[in-house]
Symmetry: none
DNA sequence: CATGAATGAGGCTTCATTCAT
DNA sequence: CATGAATGAAGCCTCATTCAT
């Protein structure tokens, strides 16, 4: 295996967050998984906390900023973009696992990032809903509601797989229905 | 202070889960909080895992079985019972904190309990909705949806306080509205 | 080997200071020397720093307070007490090794103790010299000088064994001479 | 900054010894201070021990050989040279700090150098005192005594600043008095 | 029933050293 | 000549667990 970069470590740390939360970000186990030694870690980061920070930044980027950018770049009607957004987001299994762990974390540093991410996501949803013809207040109310439902859904899918799908049919048709009802004036 | 029972330990462990998740269930800090020693713990439990198990059982009982029993005992129309249920549940701040941590936990032992609790809650919701006149399928669909929304709401309230309320007004009126829309045929 | 007390650890730490200075106070090596494990250490002390503190307290007690008390208890003329003091102090090889390490340490916590010890020793020397008939100022000047010479002597004995004795004859006769000249008005 | 020489490293290491003893000679911090990398160090030296050795050689040279040479070159009566010697030595604050650390070090490699330095210094002092008219034995006895006092003085000045001066007045007049009494037959 | 003491695994961090380039 | 990267030993500390009393 060639030399590792800080991003390799951050990515592995984000994986660890997905499986076990921030507490699962342990230097040595991640080193082993990367085929490196724990000592090498300290070349790339000054301390474990910096690795966590980098993983959080990566999560913010990938799960939110990149997704929004990708949706915007693809263009289309607001409704099409909403549909695309939901599609991307329900597919990113690893990232939504991280979402669950991170939203449950009590550490202030984590909460700061989570809050920023939540605001960004809700702001984007609201902007799409305004484009669909909703008033700002209605758009915001629906965006908060949709985001909250999203959180609940991934939570439920995580803790009780199949429970959601068994009542809702395929996730794809479910997403269609959610978009329809959000957009409806 | 009199001698400690296993339940005292389980209760303290549930408190710890509320503040920091299952990972925060550490024998020594809990012993300190109870004014006991670590050694004493091992008279009541064989291992830390058993304490977690007991705390989970307590959580299942209090957050779900007792709540349902209390709502049923109070009686009234299905709609009144729904309203009472939501009221109890949004008030139990400590228990809903535990909910958040537990729904995010990857440990199979935890997931088993969480799945059972989720099913029990959804079953109860569905039964009330059937009593309100919904078909079994519709009742179930709405129950799953309502539960998922509940999870999302407490998650959002936890990670970004005020965000929900700022868009939804008082929690009490919010609960009213949710019940109304769930019940509506 | 029976159970260890905190004092056993402090004593072993003082030994380590004698051989290698405060930096040589390492938990695991000391544990090995005591036939214990490093984990056991943390029953007796919260952290390594507390062990260092305890060792310094032990040094202050044994090398200074106990010595002074023992000299005072034995009684006799001031000159006899001076003679006894020098005898005790030159004999306590382990403690004087610690003296050397500690006087060279730059850590503020160490310097605080060392300064207190130096003052105590000089005060005691000065009080004996006042009893011998010196004026307070003369007594103090001689005490500082004698203490400084003591430090230089143990330093030289440590870094170049025999050099001192080769020029001064037996340590015992040397001490006699020093006392004589200190006492002389 | 131009390329570094081994002497640059040795000088920086000697600085480190002055501040924290041989234990403070750490490759990385010194590299940082020199604006170089750890890797560069291993071009100049095979191991840390070699750097320490070089620093000790530098110390021996500057603190002893150079001082003696400078005093001899300036010439004058033996007494004038003694006075000049004491002046130089009490002024070289950094070097005397190193003295303190090195005299307290237990490492055999360090002790070897320290012993050689002590002998050299005492020999030189003795030679000056012989020139002043003392017999060889008396000259040696006084030299050992003066050197030992010197060590005690810098120790005391280090661990309890002001204590010495408060009893002895200015260092300059103190040096005058010491020289006077050493020279007196 | 419980305590005081000890164990040992596991996690964090520093630092001397090595090595490919 | 030197850098960037990696290694591994050694030290600190926490915590689940055990055990004698």
């Amino acid at each position: 295996m060639s030399r590792l970069s800080g991003d390799d470590w951050a990515l592995a740390a984000l994986d660890a967050i997905s499986s076990g939360g921030v507490a699962a970000v342990a230097v040595e186990p991640i080193a082993v998984r990367l085929g490196a030694t724990k000592g090498s870690f300290y070349w790339h980061f000054k301390a474990r906390g910096d690795l966590v920070e980098a993983a959080l930044a990566l999560w913010e980027q990938r799960s939110t900023l990149d997704v929004i950018a990708s949706v915007e770049q693809a263009g289309g009607s607001p409704k099409a973009r909403l549909r695309r957004l939901f599609g991307l987001v329900f597919d990113a299994a690893a990232l939504t696992h991280a979402d669950i762990s991170l939203h449950a974390d009590a550490d202030p540093a984590v909460r700061e990032v989570v809050t920023r991410v939540s605001r960004r996501r809700i702001d984007y949803l609201a902007s799409l809903l305004r484009e669909c013809g909703h008033t700002p207040r209605a758009a915001r109310r629906r965006a908060v509601f949709a985001y909250s439902a999203f959180l609940g859904n991934i939570q439920l899918m995580n803790s009780s797989p199949n429970l959601l799908e068994s009542s809702v049919g395929s996730l794809s048709r479910y997403a269609d229905a959610v978009v329809e009802s959000l957009v409806r004036i």
